[in-house]
Every structure is written in structure tokens, then in C-alpha cells.
């Protein structure tokens, strides 16, 4: 044991009232030692950098509590171990996430150009081509889904908060909304497809089917957030309005809704950002195509997520005589970057809206 001389040093302290503690620089020392040992072993044994980093982390997680156990006792050692593990979990989760974002940025930025945004894949073999058709498809399908789901979701929330308090329909609806949040997206897609097949026959693929599926996924999010916001509106406001003789529906439209407006819009934007990246339902209902199709009700419609998937699964081959990754991969990364960009912009917009509308009541006070 290398810690014996330290033990000796701390004996004088243990005699007093103060419990012995590791010095403040203990973590730095152990960290440096772990890095040194792992680095040495990595060089000698020829391991990869990643393996060395993992080893260093393990050495630290073992070394710190061991030293602490010898000096401070079992309870403090358990505490130190927990601290190490929690920090370890944080670092370990960050690694794949940073890796993912970095890859998307690195590969995506190289693929994006003006023509990438402005061209479809019609007649493209090999290099070139773009995402215009998919971008338009995504915007149209999501817009239609929003148009379907917002009125339904909003009115349901109004019913739950303003009209149906405690009624059986309200309880059932709340339960069903809970159930709906758990519907797998592909099941929503199958539902939309089954519905269309019943109406139009088996070989149907239209963009609007995708909107139905996305709306099904959006509705619970919209209901939940709108309900929460409506409940936050103080009932004093409603009562004041009733006292002035304003009918209930005008109270809701003119008093309750404007008060909750910011929160409701934020919820809707977040709901859109959640469904805009859905792939599976669009893959099976809206289909895939290489050309621009602006008609939601006729023919297959490409969307960004499906575009990424189809570029990934059939990437083509690099131009004759050249070596390298298939051209589809670069387009997939580029489209992924655009899609993530849209999602992040929506999230940022939601946050800004929240900021604009949230502090108002505080400021007035």
C-alpha cells in the first residue's frame, strides 16, 4: 500500500476532535496519477486513446474512494464514490452527444450549399441533388398537421378547464390524452394508412396522410400544455368578467385566452418541434419521391426525415473511378443538419416566447 506513510502523517490529527480529511488537492493528485498511469499503459500496450481515457476514468473512480477509505473512513468513502460516479455519468453522457453534434456539423456543413437547398433529387444519379422537395414536403405536412391538431387540442383543453370540471367525459379525456402520449409514432402512421386504405383503396400514399399521423402525435402535447396554461389563469379574472355581465364564451375568448396566450403558443411551437422530425409515420403514409410535389392530397411526398433515411439506406455509388463514401451519405448529413437546425430554431423561438410573455405578471406587481 502506498498510503502507509500518509496514515502515519494523519495520526496526529485523528487524535483530535476534527475528523481527518483528504487535502483539497487530493482530486487533482489522483487525477494526474490516473492520467499518467493510463497514458503510460496506453503507450506501452498500444491501446487507442479512447481506451486510455476510459482506463484513466476507472482508475480515478477506484483511487479516490480507496484513499478516502483509508484516511476518512467508510462513510466518507461511499460519499466520494457516489460523487465520482455522478460526475462520471455526466461526462459519459456528454461524450456520445458531443460526438453526434460534432459529426452532424462537420459532415453537414460540407454538404450544404445554395444548390443543395434549391434542387430536388429528380434525375440525380451520383453526386449533386438537393433537399428542396423534402424541405417543402416537411413544411407542408407539418403545417397541415398543426392546422388539424391546434383547434382540436385547444378546444379540448378549454373543455377540460372551463366546462368539464369533474365530469366523466373530462376524466375519460384526461386518461385518453395520457394514453395518446404513449402511442408509438409508427402506430400513428399505421392508423393514418389504415384510414386512407379504407377510403381510397390499398395503394394510397399522400402527404395529407402524414399530416393526420403527425396531428395524432401532436394533439396530446398541445392539450397538455394548453390545459396547464389555462389552469394558471387566476379565477379572479374570470369572475371579474362574469360580474360585468360578459358571457362565458366571450370571457374565455377575450380574457382567459389572451392571458394564457404566450404559454399556449410556446406549447404549440414545442409540439411542432417534436413532430417535425418524425420519420416512421411519414415513411409509410407519405411515401418517398425524388420530385417536388406541392399537393398534399395527390401523390407521394418527400419529407426531410424520410429523405435522410432513404439517402442512408440507398446511398448510391461514388462516381466511376473515384474512391470514397457513397454520395448519399453526404446528402443525409446535410439534410440532418438542416432538420436539426429547424428543430433548434423552433425550440429557441419557444424559449424566447416564454421569456417575452412569462415575466409580465411579475413586472406589473
Amino acid at each position: 500500500m502506498t498510503t502507509t506513510p500518509l496514515d502515519h502523517d494523519f495520526e496526529s490529527v485523528t487524535a483530535g476532535l476534527v475528523q481527518p480529511q483528504l487535502p483539497r488537492w487530493a482530486a487533482v493528485l489522483i487525477g494526474a496519477m490516473a492520467l499518467a498511469v493510463a497514458g503510460l499503459l496506453t503507450m506501452v500496450m498500444g491501446w487507442s486513446v479512447v481506451g486510455g481515457a476510459i482506463l484513466a476514468g476507472l482508475l480515478f473512480v477506484i483511487g479516490m474512494p480507496t484513499w478516502s477509505r483509508v484516511v476518512e473512513g467508510g462513510r466518507a468513502a461511499a460519499d466520494r464514490l457516489a460523487t465520482c460516479l455522478v460526475w462520471g455519468a455526466f461526462v459519459a453522457v456528454l461524450v456520445p452527444l458531443i460526438w453526434l453534434v460534432w459529426l452532424v456539423l462537420k459532415n453537414g456543413l460540407g454538404a450544404i450549399s445554395l444548390s443543395f437547398l434549391n434542387e430536388s433529387m429528380r434525375g440525380v444519379v451520383g453526386e449533386g441533388g438537393g433537399i428542396y422537395h423534402a424541405l417543402m414536403g416537411t413544411l407542408l405536412v407539418t403545417l397541415a398537421a398543426t392546422v388539424i391538431s391546434v383547434p382540436i387540442g385547444l378546444f379540448t383543453a378549454i373543455y377540460l378547464v372551463e366546462y368539464g370540471k369533474g365530469s366523466r367525459l373530462a376524466r375519460v379525456t384526461t386518461f385518453l390524452v395520457d394514453v395518446m402520449t404513449g402511442i408509438p409514432s409508427i402506430v400513428a402512421g399505421l392508423f393514418a394508412l389504415a384510414l386512407l386504405v379504407l377510403i381510397f383503396g390499398p395503394a394510397i400514399r399522400i402527404g395529407f396522410g402524414g399530416s393526420i399521423a403527425l396531428a395524432l402525435l401532436m394533439i396530446p402535447t398541445v392539450v397538455r400544455s394548453a390545459e396547464e396554461m389555462l389552469r394558471l389563469v387566476p379565477s379572479d379574472l374570470r369572475e371579474a368578467s362574469y360580474a360585468l355581465g360578459v358571457p362565458k364564451w366571450r370571457t374565455i375568448v377575450k380574457v382567459v385566452m389572451p392571458t394564457a396566450f404566450g404559454g399556449i403558443v410556446t406549447g404549440i411551437v414545442l409540439a411542432i418541434s417534436r413532430v417535425i422530425g418524425e420519420t416512421a409515420p411519414l415513411l409509410i403514409v407519405a411515401g418517398a419521391t425524388d420530385s417536388v410535389n406541392m399537393n398534399l392530397f395527390n401523390g407521394r411526398m418527400m419529407t426531410l426525415p424520410v429523405y435522410i433515411f432513404s439517402q442512408y439506406s440507398s446511398p448510391g455509388v461514388p462516381a466511376f473511378g473515384t474512391d470514397g463514401p457513397p454520395p448519399g451519405y453526404a446528402r443525409a448529413w446535410g439534410a440532418a443538419l438542416v432538420l436539426i437546425g429547424i428543430v433548434m430554431i423552433l425550440n429557441l423561438a419557444a424559449r424566447i416566447l416564454q421569456k417575452i410573455y412569462a415575466p409580465k405578471s411579475d413586472r406589473r406587481r
Partner: protein, 311 residues
């Protein structure tokens, strides 16, 4: 009701009021109808898939032997994902709520929330193009050193497109969801409980074990169940990582991996004949039932432990 009060002439019921409340009620009912519609349409379109001619089910020969490996794959992938995700998300949630310096805890929480918004197809792209390749040496290492465990029985895949890789990708998609909910309940622990534990001389870890965990148990369970729901229904990440064969196996690192229900639907949809299509819809119905049951159990657990806490 409305007309009787109108007849006595006391409160005036306006047309606008009636229209508005009617619309609101209609919307609530529409949700019920929509959900019933999901079940009904899936049953109507899927029933022919239960008893089709045997060659539809190739390579199996009846519905249950077709869907069996898929259910197995779905559960296996979800379990692998949860086993990886639970410790990390609880750790990460604790980090945000109790360990991180307050100034960086907020931004970290926001970033983790943002990660939940990254589309699954992007995770699939990353899993298929980057992680799978990188996993190959680890898979070989697992086979060489832990090959006696049935999970790592091999022979190891050369492409890295294995159940283990799919599970890791799924776990990274589950972590933000589970973390978000766990962190919220950890942060809601009554301050007094924690201070009482500290005042008795508990270390930070003991405080967490004595005050935070008992309080947050049901919340963490519901977070895990939500994550499980996502892992069960997740399509693209699995479809993009795995190349599937219908086998039932515990082996996580070999070339032959069972597909999940969802990834099987996505992979086979394009070239499906109407018969095959109804078969796929029938498997979708199975998935719907499985996730419904999981969610239902989750809600029961949460409701029961909430009752215990209030008692």
C-alpha cells in the same frame, strides 16, 4: 338542462355560449373517437393478417411464429437500452439537481432537454455510420473476454451492427426523457427533509439516499416507463442500425439479430402486397397493445406510490 333554465327565464343562455361549449365538448369527444379509431382501424385492417395463407408469413408459417421473434427483439432492445440508460440518467439527474454548481446546472438541463428534440433519424444516422464502426473492437473484446456469458456468445459481428449497438443508440435517445423527469422530482424533494438529514451529520450521498430517493421513487419509475415507451416504439434508430433475421436469441453481438416490431414494419413497407400490408398492420396492433399495457402499468405504479407518499 339548458332549455329548462331558459324557460324559467332566469339566466340567459346565449347562442354563442351554446356554440362554444358545444365545440369544446365536441373536441374532447373527437379525441375519444380518434383513439377508438386507432384501435378499430388497426383491428379491421389487421385481422386479415392473422389468418392469411401460409406463404405470406415467410420465412415463418403462421402469425404467432412470425410475430414472436419481433416481440422478442422489441423487448430485448428496450431492455438493453434501459439497463444502460437508467444508471446514467439517474446519475445525470442527480448531477443537475444536487452536484453541479448552480450556475451551470440550468444550462446543462436545457441542453439535455434540447437533445430530446433531436430527431430519431439523426440518431439512427449516427448509429449506423459512426457508432457501429467504432463498436467493432469493443465487440471483439467482449467476445474474447466475456464470451462465456450468453449475451456475448458471438461469433462477433464484423460490421458492428448488432443488438448491443442498437441498444446503445436507443439508450442515448431514452436518457434525455428519463433524466428530465427524474431531475424534476429530485429537485422537488422537500428542502426540510434534506436539511434534517444534513443536520444529523449525513454526508451528501447519505442525504440523497435517505431523503431524496424515497421521495422521488415513483417519479423516477414513471420517467423510466416513459423511456421504455419510447424504446419500445422507436423505429428508425433500430431500422438503421440492425440488419435483421428472425431469430430468438440472447446474443447481443452476433450478425443475426431479431428486428423489432417497429423496425420490421419500416423495413418491409415499401414492397408490401395488400396481404403482407395487413400482416404488418397486425404486428402494429401487437405493438400498440404492448405499449398500452406498459403505460397502463406505469400509471398504476405511480398512482399507488403517490398514495403511499400522501399516507
Amino acid at each position: 338542462m339548458l332549455s329548462s333554465t331558459e324557460a324559467t327565464g332566469k339566466p340567459v343562455v346565449r347562442l354563442g355560449d351554446r356554440l362554444f361549449s358545444g365545440t369544446a365538448r365536441l373536441a374532447a369527444m373527437l379525441i375519444m373517437v380518434a383513439l377508438a379509431g386507432v384501435a378499430v382501424f388497426l383491428v379491421v385492417e389487421g385481422l386479415p393478417g392473422l389468418s392469411a395463407p401460409a406463404d405470406i408469413y415467410r420465412p415463418a408459417d403462421d402469425f404467432w411464429s412470425y410475430v414472436g421473434p419481433l416481440v422478442w427483439g422489441t423487448v430485448l432492445a428496450a431492455v438493453v437500452a434501459l439497463v444502460i440508460a437508467i444508471p446514467f440518467s439517474v446519475g445525470l439527474a442527480l448531477f443537475i439537481s444536487h452536484y453541479a454548481p448552480p450556475r451551470i446546472a440550468g444550462p446543462i438541463a436545457y441542453v439535455i432537454d434540447l437533445l430530446a428534440a433531436i430527431p430519431s433519424v439523426v440518431y439512427g444516422l449516427w448509429g449506423g455510420l459512426a457508432l457501429a464502426h467504432w463498436m467493432t473492437p469493443s465487440i471483439n473484446w467482449l467476445y474474447d473476454n466475456l464470451g462465456f456469458i450468453p449475451f456475448f456468445a458471438g461469433p462477433p459481428s464484423v460490421t458492428g451492427r448488432t443488438m448491443l449497438t442498437a441498444g446503445i443508440v436507443l439508450s442515448i435517445m431514452v436518457i434525455p426523457i428519463t433524466t428530465a423527469i427524474s431531475r424534476e422530482v429530485f429537485a422537488q424533494t422537500p428542502r426540510l427533509h434534506e436539511e434534517a438529514a444534513m443536520a444529523l451529520g449525513a454526508t451528501r450521498w447519505e442525504t440523497i439516499r435517505l431523503a431524496v430517493f424515497p421521495y422521488a421513487k415513483s417519479g423516477v419509475v414513471s420517467g423510466v416507463m416513459l423511456g421504455l415507451g419510447r424504446a419500445l416504439g422507436e423505429t428508425m434508430a433500430v431500422a438503421m442500425v440492425l440488419s435483421a433475421t428472425p431469430v430468438v436469441t440472447l446474443n447481443l453481438i452476433s450478425n443475426s439479430n431479431p428486428a423489432t416490431i417497429a423496425s420490421n414494419i419500416a423495413a418491409n413497407y415499401k414492397e408490401a402486397t395488400p396481404d403482407r400490408q395487413s400482416l404488418l398492420i397486425a404486428t402494429g396492433l401487437v405493438l400498440f397493445i404492448v405499449t398500452f399495457v406498459v403505460n397502463f402499468i406505469a400509471r398504476l405504479i405511480v398512482a399507488r406510490s403517490e398514495r403511499n407518499v400522501t399516507r
